[in-house]
Structure formats: C-alpha cells, structure tokens
C-alpha cells in the first residue's frame, strides 16, 4: 500500500496537467468530465488522466485566477460545473506552452535523434 507513490505521481504530473487543462479550455468553457475526455482524445489516448486527479488541479488553477468556474447545464441537460479560461489564464498558457516547447526541444537535443529500435 502506498499513498506515498501516488503522491509522487501526482507531483510528476502537476505542471503538465495544469498546462493540458488550460490548453483544453482555450476551445471554450468545459466541465471536468469534458476536460478529462478531451485530454484523452486529443492525446490519442496516450495520456491517461485519472479523472479524480483533475479536480485538485482545477481547484489550484481556480485559486490562482487562471480559470473561473460556474454551474451550468451540459449538452445532455445535466447540471455541471463549467470552467472558463480567464485573461490571466490565457497569458499563463502562452508562457507555459513556450516554456514547455523549449524544454521538450532541449530534452530532445540531449536525447539525440530518434533511432529505430
């Protein structure tokens, strides 16, 4: 049993998950389940997001003022809490995306050209 391991995974995901949420919300307001689905679909099921892990991230982002939340009605007429990207969130997304790209490129250069296995 290992609460500790779980926590480490969360920490590993933290920055990335925030970025993914912000990126998803740029397409328009979305509720938690929708965000989870969207991340899974756009990553072609490469990224498996534990839906539960999403909510602490959403809380955090809301805290920082990057997203705003409001109860509304979903497409199939269910009540759900919808998240919207704020102006600050948009800025953050740009900054984070840029940082992430540079990081990915740097790591790519370090790792060298892809080789067939």
């Amino acid at each position: 049993m290992s609460t500790r391991e779980e926590k480490e995974r969360l920490e590993l995901l933290q920055g990335t998950l925030d970025l993914l949420i912000l990126r998803t919300l740029i397409l328009g307001p979305q509720h938690g389940q929708g965000i989870a689905r969207a991340i899974q679909q756009t990553s072609e099921d490469e990224l498996l997001v534990e839906h539960g892990a999403l909510y602490p991230a959403l809380e955090r982002l809301e805290d920082r003022g990057w997203i705003a939340a409001e109860w509304g009605t979903s497409a199939n007429n269910r009540r759900a809490r919808f998240y919207t990207l704020t102006r600050a969130g948009r800025k953050q997304l740009v900054a984070e995306t840029d940082k992430w790209r540079r990081l990915a490129a740097a790591i790519g250069r370090v790792l060298g050209p892809e080789t067939e296995g």
């Binding site: 938690g32 602490p56 759900a80």
Partner: protein, 893 residues
C-alpha cells in the same frame, strides 16, 4: 489569495455530476447502466484521495476539517471516559506542577519591577547583605553610608539619578490616624530621590522628592503604598493628611504611590515610605546619617540613556575610590588602605528588583527540574496510553487507509486528539497551579501576614504553560501517531491481534516504562538525599535548650522609649518581674537570637598579634539570666549575674573564643577589646561557656562573647523566657506583667525556640517535602505505566497462559512469569537510573548537609521503593493471568 467559500457539498455535487456525465457517455456507447457506473467510477479513480487532495489545495477548508477532527476526537474521547479522565488528570498534574513552580520562579526572579524602563536600573553590589557594616571590606561592596550616597549622587556623571534605601525594612509599632491601638507599620526609609529615580508616580497627592530629605529629623512625612492605602485607609481619597505616630514623631501622609508598586524588594511590601532623614526618629539606635562609616544603605541608580554597563561600572568605581580615599583621610591605617585597594562596586541589574527570598532561588530551580522530570514521566504514561489505544484502533486506521485516507491526514487526526487532551490538561493544570502556588507561598511563615508575593498567573506564566502544553503534546502524541499509521492495512484488517506493528509497539511501550522507572529513581533518590540531609541538619546539637523556651519581641521605641539607660533599667525590672511568675524559670532580653542575624566584629587581645586569619567574633548583649534560660553550661569561671552592672566591663566567652584568643592559658580575668569605640575597650573575661549554634545550624564552631545589658545602655528587642508546664497558661501571665509596667508597650506573639529552629531550615524542609511529594507522584505514575503495559501484555498472552495451565502449570508459575517480566523492566530502569541519580545529585551538592552527593542509603532506598511499587503494579495483571480458564482461553483464539 482569495477567500473561498466553496463548501464540501458543492465539491461533492461536482464529482457526482462528473460521474453522471461519464456514465451518460458510456451508455451512449452502448454499455449497460451497471457497467457504465462501474467504468465511470474506475476512470475517476480514488474518490477519497481526490477529496483529500481537494482539501490540501483549499485553505478555506482547513478550519472546517480541523473542526471535523476536533469533533471526531471528542467523540473518541467520550467513548472511553475513564481513560480520557485519567489522561487529562495526569496531564493536569504534570502541567499544573510545572506552572505552579514556574509562577514562583517568575514572581521571585523573573518579573520586572513595575517602574519606568526597569532595564536602566542598577544596584550597587548584589544586595545580599543586610544591616550595617562599619569596616572597609576588601571585596565587592553592598552597603553604603548616607554621606557616600549624597556625595556620589552629587558628583556622578553616568546616572540620571541615584537613590538610597535602608537595607532593613523597619517594622516599628505606631498609631494610625490617632487611634489608641498600636499596630505594626512597615516603614521603608528611602532617599528623597527614590521615586524620581524609579519613575514611580503618585495616584494621590505627591511622592517624596529631594526637598523631603534634607534636615535630619525635619521631615515628618510619609508616602503610603497603594496596597496599604486600600487595606488600612479604605482606599479613601481623603486619606491624605492622615497621621501615623511612630515613637514620639507624628508623620503626615502626603501621597499614595502607583498601584502595583511595592518597593524594589521582591516579597517585601512596605506600608509607607519615609525619608532617610528621619532614620533616628523611626528607629532610635539605628542612626548613622552623620557617620562616614555607618554603611547600611542599598544604592540603586538609573543609567542615562545610552550608558552601557561597562561605562557605568568604570565611572562608578572611579568615583567610589575617590570618595572612599577622602573618608579614610590621612589617618588611614595601612590595613584600611590595603582593603580599599581590593574594594570595588559590582553593578547588578536591578530590573527585577532585589530580594531577601532569593535564597529560595536554587531550591526553586531544583524543584523546577523535578517537576519537568515529573512531566516527562507523565508524558510517557500518556504515550503508552495512546499506543494501547492505537492498537485498539488498528482496524479503524486500516479501513481508513485502505479507502484512501492519506497517512498525513491520519497523523493530523491523531495529533488533534492529543492536542485536545493537552488543552484539557493544560487548562485544568492552570487552575491547579494557581491554587498550588498560593499554597506554596503560604508555607513560608512570615508571622501573621502572608508573604506579599504575587503569584497570580500573568502573561509570562500563561505563555510558559502554553509552551509546555505544546511540547507535551508533541512528546506524547507524536510517537503513537507515527506508530499507529505505520501499518499494512491488509494484515491489520485480517486480524488486529496478529498485526505486524505489535512487536515494535511492545518494544516502544517497554522502553517508555524503563525510562519512567529510571527517571522516578532519580527523583526518589533526590528526595532521599534531601530528607537525609534535613534529618542530619535537625540532629545538629544546637547547644541551647530549644524545648522550653519562649521568644517574644518587645518594641520599646514604638512606645516612645529612648535608646538609653532608663530603658535598660526598665528591662532589668521586667526580667525580675517575669522571672517571679509561677511557671517561669527565668527571663532575659537579648540583642540577637538564633536565626535572627548577628553582630560579628573583630577582637583584639593585648599582647596577642593581630592575624589576618582571626575569625570575627559573634557578640551578644544579654540579660543576666540568659545562659541559664538557654541552659548553656558554664565550663569555667561563672555565668553573668545581676551584679555585673559596674563600670568595669565583663563578658562570658565560649570555648572556641577561649581556644583561639587565649591559647594555652586560662582566659579568666583576661582582657580584650572590640572595635574602636570607648564603650567596648578592656572587657574582662569572667567565664567560659560551652559552644552553641548562634545564627544557623550549618555554621562551624564560632567564637562568641556575651555581655550583660546592665553595662551597655539601650533597649533590646528579643525577650527569652524559660518555662515549665503549658505555654498557653504562661504567655498570658507574661503579657499581664508587661502591661503592669506599661500597657502601651507592644509585645509580639510568642513562639518557642523549637519553632525558630525549624523555621531556620525552612527552605531545606520545603525542598525535602516537595521533592518527596513529587518523587512519590513520579513513582505512582511509573506504577500506572507498568500496570498498563503489563495488563496489555498479559491480555495478549491469554492464549499462551491458557495452554500452559492446561499443560499443568500452577498459578504460582504464571504469577512468577509475569512478575519476572516486571522485575526485568524495573532492573533495567534502576540500572539506567542509578548513574543518572548519581550525576543529578552532584548538581545539588551545595544544598546538602552532612552527606556526600553519592549516598548509597538514599539510592538503595529509592531502588527498594521503586521495586516494591513496581511489583505491586505488576501483581494485579499477574493475578488476573492466573485466573485464566484454560478452555476459555483456548476457544478465545
């Protein structure tokens, strides 16, 4: 960060909505309702963990969760009320004892005087001496003359102001507001600059200023203390102008000092302050305003802002040497000049005032350590209790962890529960402490009045208690919390009794018990040391009869008598009259009595060279029957008699003085002189008396001389009466005899010399008694610890004992098995405790009398006592083990 009011229910609603939406999606893909729900929940993952994390990110909910923890904790405590009550009481005892002793320490040595910027105040010397000094000490000075004070104040550069205070609080009898009744008035003689130096303002009228302290005998004014104004004058604003008559002088109250201010001496609360210029009027015979070498004053000064201790000290000593060389003048002896070279003033901070009861400082520090150890022992008990409870709650913990509660969350929950215990114990402890500290202050006899020492908990005390409680909670709560949450839920769920944490639980619990025994050993051995030291002290032969002698105080100047031959003749008549009362064997006045200070001075014998090593001689002026009253046997020559009233001075000396000053010859008929004054030259020795203790029980054999008061005019305060029968019938007769001479003569309550002697070892007695009390408490707590651990251990071995007994083991075998375990624990505790006790006792060496710090009887007694207590504590669970029904025990598994 924004304050979020988002509630848990809102968050839960969102999660429910999420699961619903996911289900909707999956059902669209053709799943059945049930499969969809299962899949949605699976995709969501650990819901509890999500909630946990939600809490982590949301500070607004901390309060809510804390409240939840508290409610839960309260429920858990309510479920086992006896355990909880025991825990809270144990804590209250530990914290209460610590707070009580700390309140005393705080009041005696820590608290600042209620004056302006107390940190700027300095005292010249450490302020230990009281009385007067007329020599030139060759070391750090503590007492100063009025002349010196005035000159120093005029010439000094580094102090904003300087004040002088008589080192003795005068307690003459007087009449307040013209009343007929005489009452004791605590009068502190101070310089006119006293209030200005301290920065103490009046609440009514005015305080003394330097114009009130100019002409000797010319300033019959007094400032009332706030407390006295409240108690004696009813807090009435019209009290200004009230008169206080002391002797033949009538003083007018010109003001009342600020509330809370009771002078600069801790635990001493003067009723009035009177200018030093009135010294002779307040206390005839105690007057040295005009003498350069009548040194009886404390000097206190306020440093100018920015003047450090170093600068102040350098300037003070420079000026001191300059003034003293002036006084010594050209006629100074070589010895005086030599002494002066070593004379100095050590500045002491006066921020916390000065105190005659500072002699209680080291006892208080010892008691503080004792109660700290007691608290640690109490903590060990609580830790054990919580460990046992944690074992009982293993299933709960395992379930909560397996449904996703984080370990941190559980630890927090357990710590909140400990903190609740701590807060309950701490609050109860403060209540206990305020009662206990008042009780402790009450144990110090000060005559009819309680010791004026404010031990009510103030901010410092409360902060101390809070700190102690926090430390306590961490001490007893952390280990069990870490321990309880460190488990494997699967095993723990399968069977609470077989879970893996048990072995380590046992080790921890036993370790705690061993530590308790070791620490209790230290306290018991310490208590033994103090008790044995006290017994040795009380066994010291005093050399005088303390059983059948009464002591009374007679205040001649209070009734207007002068320090003259007329008063002395009255004293002789009183002695004769009281001596003739039925039941009285003899009566004598005395200048000093046991534990009442003393007058020591050097002595010169013609033809005998003065040596630096000559000890000073103790002098006493006494009535003719004094030696008989105290049953001090005359060894040579004769005792003093009523006939010793002529012009040629006589004395009876003791063995030690005879040996030191008249070695190898009979001292009878020989001559000696005391100091320089004409009155004390050429005193003839008429007898030698056996040695006795004169000032305290611990003193070494001291040379002493006794002089008849018929040859030394003046009044004496102490009146000794030896009697037969009941003191209760004799005392009224003595009082009536005094009233025959003068109904206005104030005579104090009588006490026996036995009381006087036992009061003289009061602080040794208090330390011994309190240490014993705390050590017994400690042993009791350790016993509870042993009982708890052994009960738990035998309960867990029910099965094993059942098997053993089924196989033929006798009850005695089982009993012995358990007790052997107890003995093992105690042996380890004692083994660890003995070196600890030996080390600790070295720290209290200076307070011991007649025994070495490593005292085998004390340590042996402690070990025996501890073993007995432990066996008793272990016997109860052991007996329970012998009562096990083998069949029931086997089925139990």
């Amino acid at each position: 960060m924004a304050w979020k009011r988002r509630s848990t229910s809102d968050f839960n609603a969102e999660i429910a909505a999420h699961v619903q939406l996911e289900m909707d999606r999956l059902r669209e893909q053709g799943m059945s309702e049930e499969d969809a729900r299962a899949a949605a929940l699976r995709a969501f993952g650990n819901r509890t963990a999500a909630e946990e994390r939600f809490y982590e990110t949301n500070p607004a909910l901390w309060g809510e969760r804390l409240w939840q923890n508290i409610r839960f904790g309260m429920r858990m405590m309510g479920r086992s009320p006896v355990t909880t009550a025991a825990a809270v009481l144990t804590l209250a005892l530990g914290i209460g004892a610590n707070t009580a002793i700390f309140s005393l320490l705080n009041a005696v040595i820590l608290r600042d005087l209620p004056v302006r910027n107390p940190k700027e105040l300095v005292l010249f010397g450490p302020g230990h001496w009281r009385g007067s000094v007329d020599s030139v000490p060759n070391r750090s000075w503590q007492l100063f003359s009025y002349h010196f004070f005035q000159e120093f104040r005029r010439k000094n550069q580094v102090y904003a102001d300087v004040a002088a205070i008589d080192s003795i609080l005068m307690t003459p009898h007087g009449r307040v507001g013209g009343a007929a009744r005489m009452e004791t008035v605590g009068a502190e003689l101070v310089s006119g600059s006293f209030f200005e130096t301290l920065g103490v303002k009046p609440v009514l009228g005015r305080v003394l200023n330097e114009h009130d302290d100019v002409t000797p005998g010319g300033h019959p004014v007094a400032v009332a203390s706030y407390a006295w104004w409240q108690q004696r004058l009813g807090g009435n604003p019209s009290a200004l102008g009230t008169t206080v008559t002391i002797g033949s002088t009538t003083y007018t109250i010109i003001g009342v000092s600020a509330a809370g201010f009771s002078g600069v001496t801790v635990a001493q609360s003067p009723d009035v302050w009177i200018p030093l210029a009135m010294e002779k009027e307040v206390s005839p015979g105690w007057n040295g305003l005009e003498k350069d070498w009548f040194q009886s004053l404390y000097v206190i000064a306020r440093r100018k802002p920015g003047v450090g201790m170093g600068t102040a000290s350098a300037d003070t000593n420079l000026l001191f040497q300059q003034i003293m060389h002036e006084y010594a003048g050209p006629s100074a002896t070589a010895q005086q000049l030599e002494n002066l070279r070593h004379a100095r003033i050590d500045l002491t901070s006066a921020a916390t005032g000065l105190s005659q009861i500072r002699r209680f400082t080291s006892p208080l520090l010892i008691l503080m350590s004792v109660v700290a150890v007691l608290l640690i022992i109490a903590c060990a008990n609580l830790a054990n209790l919580l460990l046992a409870r944690a074992a009982a709650r293993q299933r709960e913990m395992a379930i909560r962890m397996s449904i996703g509660a984080g370990r941190a969350r559980l630890i927090r929950q357990l710590l909140v529960e400990s903190a609740l215990l701590g807060i309950a114990g701490g609050s109860l402890g403060i209540l206990l402490a305020s009662a206990a500290s008042r009780l402790l202050v009450g144990l110090v006899p000060t005559g009819s009045q309680p010791l004026p020492l404010d031990v009510a908990p103030d901010a410092t005390v409360l902060a101390f208690t809070l700190g102690v409680t926090l430390v306590t909670v961490l001490l007893f709560g952390t280990a069990p919390a870490l321990h309880a949450t460190h488990l494997d839920p699967v095993t723990a769920l399968k069977d609470g009794r077989a879970a893996s944490g048990l072995a380590s639980h046992n080790r921890l619990a036993r370790g705690l018990v061993v530590a308790q025994v070791a620490l209790s050993m230290v306290l018991l051995a310490g208590a033994g040391l103090f008790l044995r030291s006290l017994m040795k002290l009380l066994d010291v032969p005093t050399g005088f009869d303390r059983e059948n002698v009464l002591l009374m105080g007679v205040d001649f100047p209070g009734a207007g008598y002068g320090d003259d031959a007329r008063t002395e003749r009255l004293m002789r008549r009183v002695e004769d009259r009281v001596g003739s009362i039925a039941g009285v064997k003899g009566a004598a006045f005395a200048f000093v009595v046991f534990d009442g200070g003393g007058w020591t001075d050097s002595v010169t014998v013609p033809g005998r060279p003065v040596s630096e090593n000559d000890p000073e001689v103790f002098h006493n002026i006494v009535g003719a029957q004094y030696l008989g009253v105290l049953k001090m046997p005359v060894l040579l020559g004769r005792a003093l008699t009523a006939g010793d009233d002529g012009a040629s001075k006589v004395a009876v000396i003791n063995e030690t003085m005879a040996r030191l000053y008249f070695p190898g010859v009979s001292p009878l008929g020989r001559i000696f002189s005391v100091g320089k004054s004409a009155e004390w030259q050429n005193v003839q020795v008429v007898g030698v008396v056996k040695d006795a203790k004169y000032m305290e029980l611990r003193e070494k054999p001291t040379p002493a001389a006794f002089y008849p008061h018929a040859q030394h005019a003046g009044f004496l305060y102490n009146f000794l009466v030896s009697y037969t029968g009941e003191a209760g019938t004799v005392v009224p007769r003595i009082r009536r005899a005094f009233a025959e001479f003068d109904p206005n003569l104030p005579v104090s309550d009588a006490k026996t010399l036995n009381d006087v002697v036992s009061e003289s070892v009061l602080h040794q007695k208090l330390v011994a008694q309190l240490c014993t009390l705390f050590a017994l408490l400690a042993a009791f707590l350790a016993a509870i610890g042993i009982y708890g651990v052994m009960s738990y251990a035998t309960a867990r071995r029910t099965n094993e004992f059942g098997v053993r007994m089924a196989l033929g083991a006798e009850a005695g075998d089982v009993l012995w098995m358990v007790l052997r375990e107890v003995l093992g624990l105690v042996a380890m505790g004692i083994a660890a405790g003995v070196p600890l006790a030996a080390g600790a006792s070295r720290l209290v060496e200076s307070l011991l009398f007649g025994i070495a710090p490593f005292d085998p009887p004390a340590i042996g007694a402690a070990a025996v006592a501890m073993t007995a207590v432990a066996l008793f504590a272990g016997y109860l669970p052991a007996r329970r083990a012998t009562k096990i029904e083998p069949m029931a025990a086997l089925r139990y598994e």
